[in-house]
Symmetry: C2
Subunit: 330 residues, 2 copies
DNA sequence: GGAAATTATGTAAACGTTTTCATTTTTGAT
DNA sequence: ATCAAAAATGAAAACGTTTACATAATTTCC
């Protein structure tokens, strides 16, 4: 090292004001020459902060989450933090493992996209780390939330169908207990009632947010006799499945049936016909969630309560007026 | 603490054999009661290993990479490591920042999916961390590689078209300097020659691996007069773009044109018609890459050279025999 | 020019582990 | 019972920082 104490080096780096101009230069020169890089582990040990945020997500390969991650990563790096990803597949064991990341100081906070507190969080409730929920609000406790107004989005979607003249609209739900499923269903029912239509339980089917789930829902509907003229799907993947099933059965969209999704994933504009949907500002959600997270971690004043970002109805080719004649199918 | 020295606790945890049955039980009881969790930062500081692997990728939201990440994450957690993600957007500055993660001991190694060494790697060449390249081989240096035989995959794709009877096959490339572009092009040309067809430079167009890029390539082709009867696209996204452009112009696939992609991303089976493509075992690539990485990090003997996983031709609906009559379009 | 105030630097403790080495306890053979 | 060998434990150093405190150097002001 070049002529100065180890404490001074630390100060030269972190509190340049506290150190004389000349010595600071000497220090910087030495750093440049030796290629010195501070040992982050020692820093973390001393400062009790790892400058890492853990994102827990059920499935990284899901385009929807991937886009949120993009937003999370962007503001994390901008503010000098790193992003750790935890792919949980909703496995309690995995969740519990990742939860220990904060207890062991590997991460300073957790952004949850799983819709529930990680397994094992109950026991340690008192010393829970900073947590923010993105996309899926968390029922238990009062975890800060960043996302959209799902009920409002669903209402917009269904109102759009009603305005086109549809009177029988099916709702293809996600998993029954999922909060997104229920909120969007509430919006669906509200829009129906506001349009003077009645809610027919036979037109409400559980799915699982997957393409295959959408497909199956259509098959189940066709087995019964009461058909809708339009489908409101709780997410785009299922809407795509519906589109596929319909086209396979030889129907035309939007001629025979209208289909609307939720999320506006990138591929939505590439289906045949392109999918009408409710767009969520995914990247913004990620950015807002990470901003809130880091504010909490750094002890900045963070306003309590949820951050609700606006959704947008994207009208493409999969919705249109229903046929005049009521379809009767064998 | 319950009756025993701090050193013994450490041993009870990491070397249970070195500690007496009875004391081990006491220690475990105390751990359970206090909810003790070891401080990972102190462990890393002491052991000089953070048990973290950094994955550098140009774009997490790209389905292709997201699936690789899934594989990486799976074996990382299985072996007690965490996955850090670095979204670089090919920005040298960002790459350089992430490179310091290993120098500062935040990560033990780097899995590169960027196709090139991170910016700044040249200067520190001597003390480069363990690196493995996934998907895109790295030209400079001799970085262990895990991926597929792109040339072979391309050859398989184009041979499939040739066997269907196509004599004029266009190649929609990725960015010109990209290694995937050039390897797949080599396979394309080889298959052509092996089928007794000649390579027409007018049928080779640069794209950018995006849907829009595929679309534009079609437009550019239609401006000229020499049309192909089939399109081999360097990835599925561009193939989807081609499909879209073709359908927009009113053509039928595979009636008027055949289209084949590369990768087999999840949506490939959802296009109209479903896309014929070359499947890469993405998850396996991720798993193999992480396995190699951790073996390197842990000093296990790792066989040098590349791990090449097999690709598979997935025949769906977008390829068929060409029309007998040569199309002449205005 | 000297005391007081200010600024710059150095010293050393602390963060929580792991591990070497030394010491104590146990075991087993005589 | 005794002693040697083996097994279990403890003491303390080390990992590389940051920071409170003490000290040294500089400036300011009369």
């Amino acid at each position: 090292m070049a002529g100065v104490s180890i404490a001074t080096v630390s100060r030269a780096i972190h509190h340049p004001g506290k150190v004389a101009e000349t010595t600071r230069k000497k220090v910087n020169a030495a750093i440049a020459k030796t290629g010195f890089t501070a040992n982050a582990m020692a820093q973390s040990l001393r400062s009790k902060s790892s400058k890492m945020i853990l994102a827990m997500v059920p499935d990284i390969s899901n385009t929807f989450f991937a886009n949120i991650l993009l937003g999370l990563e962007a503001v994390a790096t901008r503010r000098g933090y790193g992003l750790l990803i935890g792919n949980t597949e909703n496995d309690p064991q995995t969740e519990a493992t990742y939860l220990t990341y904060t207890r062991s100081n590997k991460a300073d906070g957790i952004v949850l996209m799983t819709g529930h507190l990680p397994f094992g969080a109950a026991e340690v409730r008192q010393h829970l780390p900073p947590i923010v929920a993105a996309c899926e609000e968390i029922a238990e406790g009062s975890v800060p939330f960043v996302g959209v107004d799902n009920q409002h989005g669903a209402r917009t979607a269904v109102r759009h169908l009603a305005e086109l003249g549809h009177r029988r609209v099916a709702y293809i739900s996600g998993p029954p207990n999922n909060i997104l499923s229920t909120e969007r269903r509430a919006g669906y029912e509200l829009a129906l009632r506001q349009s003077g239509l009645e809610v027919d339980p036979a037109l409400i089917l559980d799915g699982d947010f997957s393409i295959e789930g959408g497909r199956l829902a259509v098959e189940r509907l066709f087995i019964r006799d009461a058909l809708p003229t339009a489908f409101f799907c709780a997410n785009d993947d299922m809407a795509i499945g519906v589109l596929l099933a319909l086209s396979q059965r030889g129907y035309n969209v939007p001629g025979d049936f209208s289909v609307i999704g939720f999320d506006d994933i990138p591929f939505s504009s590439c289906t045949t016909p392109p999918l009408t949907t409710i767009r969520q500002p995914r990247r913004l959600i990620g950015e807002a969630a990470m901003t809130k997270m880091l504010d909490m971690v750094e002890g900045k004043p963070v306003k309590a309560g949820a951050v609700i970002l606006p959704v947008e109805l994207i009208i493409r080719g999969s919705t249109g007026a229903p046929r005049e004649i009521d379809l009767r199918l064998d």
